[in-house]
Every structure is written in C-alpha cells, then in structure tokens.
C-alpha cells in the first residue's frame, strides 16, 4: 500500500473524469428531459407515459421477460456450471471456451439464426412434430417465447461463467463434508451450494437481468412490433415519433430498473455477511 495521495489521484482521476464527461453528464441531461417541461420540473411525462395501456404493457412485459430469463438462466446455469466445475482441468478449460464462444459471435447473426431455427419449417418444429408433440407447426416467431429463447441464449454464458467462479471458490471439501454428515444431493444443493454461491448468482443475475432489459437486437428481430420491449419502444419513440421526452422517460425507467436490480441483489448478498 502506497500512501501518496496526490499520486493516487493523478492515476485514478483521468478515468473517472472521462466517465463523468462522456457518460454521466450526457446521460444525466437526457434523463432530466423526462422531468422538464415549459413550466419547470414536473412528473407529468411519467404520468402521460403510464396512462397509455401500450406503455404499461410494454413496461410489464420487459420486467417479466427480464425476470424469467434471469430465473431460467439461474437454473440452467447451476446445472451447467456444476457439471463443468467437476470436470478434469483440461476438459474444464475446453468447456469454458465453448461457453464463452457465443460471446464472440455478432448478436445480429446469432439472432437471425433463431429465425431459421424457430420457424414453422425450422428444426424445433420439425422435431416437435416428429416426436408427435404437435400436429401443426407451433408459431414461435414474433412471440414472447422467441424473445425469451433469444435472450436466454444471449446471456446464459454470463450466468454460467459467474457461477463457475463461485463454485470454484466453494470452500474446499464443504460438499463431501455435507455428504458424510448424511446429506443427499438435493440437500447438499439447498443447504450448502446455494447459500455459499449466492454471490455468484447475484453477479450473474445482475448481468443477465440488465442485459435482458437493454438488449435491442433480439426483441427487435425476434419480437418485432408485436413484442415491443422498453428498448425497442425507446428506439421507436425517437426515430418514428421524434418524441425525446418519452424516450428519456423510458431511459429513466430502464436505468432505474437495472440499478434497483443491482442494489437489491447486492443488498441480499451483503445481508448474509453482515449477520
């Protein structure tokens, strides 16, 4: 630990100032537009926004999809991360590589692939009909289901990776210790693994939730105008309606949602440490 304060600030401040100027100021100004009117500060833009049923619906849908994607990513993420962590080192490295791989591929292309996969003549429908689960092709495209699947595929890797690092930091031998004390696998998960990896779940959860709220491509392409989400609505408000006040209201909502998720989850995480 060095103690020279001036040196420390000289090193740290450029980054902070850069973030403030490029980020904080313009974003702050944008958000403030939602609260301004000719008469001064007001909440009327928010009242107007929520008075439209479409907007209410889009808001709730965004929230719902965010929560669902996060929950699904958590469940699948645990199973996958646990399986990966128990692999021998070489195979583990390769698996992590495969998990990270989708992050390297343009989300534009990834999303278009789903159009092919989820179509009426796509693989999923062919499989479903082959197995006999349905006679008629199921319509996936331009439904919330499609957006859900697209978002899940987009963000699952982030959850898996956070859970892998959490599981790797699981105190050595805690799981075998619980086994020896008589716990079956289900009990081991609930009583040992889950509480001890909560931080990883929270980090992953925040990333997935925030990501789902703010993704643009996936809802735009897989949902289209039938499954508007806040992000696509914002884009529409700006480009079609030229309505910057509504845009800043949506921006504000998005930021508040991601911040609250972040803070809420962090609260839960630290509550455990404080106790």
């Amino acid at each position: 630990m060095f103690q020279n304060r001036a040196e420390a600030y000289a090193l740290a401040l450029p980054a902070a100032i850069f973030a403030a100027i490029v980020f904080l100021i313009p974003v702050g100004l944008l958000l403030s537009e939602g609260f301004r009117s000719a008469q001064g500060w007001t909440l009327s833009a928010f009242v107007d926004f929520f008075s439209q049923p479409l907007n209410q619906k889009v808001f709730l849908r965004t929230l719902k999809l965010g929560v669902m994607v996060t929950a699904a990513a958590a469940v699948i993420g645990y199973a996958t991360a646990y399986a990966i962590v128990s692999l021998p080192p070489g195979a583990k490295g390769r698996m992590i590589g495969l998990v990270v791989l989708p992050l390297m591929i343009s989300p534009v292309a990834r999303t278009y692939a789903w159009i092919v996969i989820l179509g009426r003549t796509g693989i999923v429908n062919q499989a479903l009909m082959l197995v006999g689960l349905t006679d008629e092709p199921v319509r996936f495209l331009f439904t919330e289901t499609a957006v859900f699947i697209g978002l899940l595929q987009l963000f699952l890797p982030l959850m898996i990776i956070s859970l892998i690092s959490a599981l790797e930091n699981l105190p050595k031998d805690a799981v075998p210790a619980a086994r020896i004390l008589g716990a079956n696998w289900f009990q081991v998960f609930w009583k040992i693994i889950l509480p001890l990896t909560r931080e990883g779940l929270i980090v992953g959860g925040t990333l997935v939730f925030t990501g789902s709220l703010t993704a643009y491509i996936t809802p735009a392409i897989l949902g289209g105008s039938k499954v508007l989400m806040l992000e696509t609505l914002l884009y529409q408000q700006v480009t079609v309606a030229n309505n910057f006040v509504a845009a800043s209201v949506i921006a504000f909502l998005l930021i508040v949602m991601s911040f609250s998720a972040n803070i809420l989850l962090r609260r839960i995480a630290t509550a455990r440490n404080r106790k």
């Binding site: 740290a12 699948i76 590589g97 998990v99 390297m104 292309a109 692939a113 491509i217 911040f259």
Partner: protein, 259 residues
C-alpha cells in the same frame, strides 16, 4: 452414479443450445441458396465471396476495427493507471472511482448513444466518428478496469518494493516489473474489450452518419434490405477470426482466468 449420466447430458443440451445457432450460421454461409435456411440448400462459397465485394462492409469493417482497437487502447490507457491506483494506494473515494468507471455496464447502451447524439453531436457539432470513439472507450473501460484489477490483485505488491530497494524509481518499477507481469491481463482485457466493442449494437444505433457506421449496424441495415446469407458468411468469418485470437490467447496466456 447419477452424475455420470446427468452431467454430460446437461452439458450436451446446454452446449447445443449455446452453439447450435452458430452452427446454423456457419452452415448458411456455405449454402448455395438465396435465403438463410437449414439444412442449407447445396454448397457454395458464393456468399463468402460476396462479403468481400460489398463496399459498405469494407467501410464499416474498417470503422469497427478502428473503434475496437482505438477504443480498447484508450480504455487501457485510462484504465490501467486507475486500476493500479485502486490496487496499490490507500485511495479515499476508491469506491466512487470504481463505481464511475463501471457505470457503462449498468446504463443501457442505447441511452448512451442517444445522449451523446443529443448533447454532443448535435449542439457541439462533435463528429459522429469521435462520438462513437468516446462511447466505445467508455463502454470498454469497465472491462479494462476489471480484468487489469484482477491481474494486479494476483501480483504481489512486494515485487515493486523489491525493485525500489534495488534502486529503481517508482515509475521505473512500474514499467520494469509490474507491466511485464500483467501483460497477460492486459492482453485479455484487450481481447475482451475488442470483442465487446466489435459486437456492440445499441450504443452505435443512433451514432451513424453518412459513410460512418459500425459493422454490426451495417449488417443489420443490410439484412433489412437484402435477406441473403452474406451476413451469415460475414459473421462466420468474424467469429472464426475472434475464436482464433481467443484460442491463441487462452493457449498462451490463460485468458479465461480473467474473464
């Protein structure tokens, strides 16, 4: 016993889900048909070839490459000293700094793009290219700080002290001892930043102008006009490029330790 069957099965299904779309894209790149379809209709290299003939792809590829490389370098120039300060100094307000530089992860990209357009580009006349550059730098900054911080944390600070005791100045110790030892972390940050910037859509959505747009936006635009497999071909090419780079980085630097 249960693990013996269940774990591989889970892994196989999840990997199928994660990698499957990529396979479709790759397959479509080599298709002879005129639309994205699976299974692909015949085999040809025509779409791969076509990618190289579309002029706007070349332009926007150059733009994206510039943003990704330039933005990442700028973010590292800002981020490395900041990480170092937070790791090695007793810095009052370190949490605030950390929060500030990590903001870009929490704030939706589309808002950043819009805000820059509205308050910098329009009133001040900042060029779109510069605005994109600033936005991408800000976006990469959190990753740069996170990865570099992690590698600094793994590096014992007494090495710098040892260098000083052997006669080095503080700055000398940083360059001769710290920098060479966080090279792996810096390269990982570079790759992570590069990939993030290169695939970034929302930030760039509003920040485009005549002749100035990033590759993903251009691909999006292209797809909106012509729905042929050339975008798939382009994505495959780019993906293989990234995978190649990451593979080498992992091979030689243990990249995944920092992600």
């Amino acid at each position: 016993m249960m693990q013996k069957i269940l774990a591989p099965l889970t892994l196989a299904l999840v990997m199928l889900f994660l990698i499957g779309p990529f396979a479709i894209i790759v397959a479509a790149s080599f298709s002879a048909g005129d639309t994205l379809a699976f299974p692909p209709q015949g085999f040809s290299l025509k779409w791969i070839a076509k990618v190289f003939t579309v002029e706007s792809f070349r332009q926007s590829f150059a733009m994206s490459l510039f943003l990704a490389i330039g933005g990442t370098i700028a973010a590292l120039i800002l981020g490395i000293p900041a990480s170092y300060a937070m790791a090695r100094y007793r810095l009052p307000g370190a949490e605030t700094v950390r929060f500030m530089v990590s903001l870009p992860i929490i704030v939706p990209g589309i808002i950043v793009g819009l805000a820059l357009l509205r308050y910098f580009v329009i009133p001040i006349g900042l060029s779109i290219t510069l605005a994109l550059f600033l936005a991408h730098t800000a976006l990469i900054l959190p990753y740069a700080v996170r990865v570099v911080s992690a590698s600094l944390a793994n590096l014992r600070s007494d090495m710098e002290e040892a260098a000083v005791l052997l006669g080095a100045s503080r700055l000398g110790a940083f360059f001769s001892v710290v920098l060479p030892n966080i090279r792996g972390g810096i390269l990982s940050a570079f790759i992570l930043g590069f990939v993030t910037s290169f695939n970034q859509v929302p930030v760039s959505l509003f920040l485009s102008g005549p002749g100035v747009r990033t590759l993903p936006i251009d691909m999006l635009g292209y797809m909106e006009i012509v729905f042929d497999p050339s975008v798939a071909a382009l994505s495959s090419l780019l993906a293989f490029l990234s995978i190649g780079i990451v593979f080498l980085a992992e091979r030689f630097l243990g990249f995944s330790r920092y992600v």
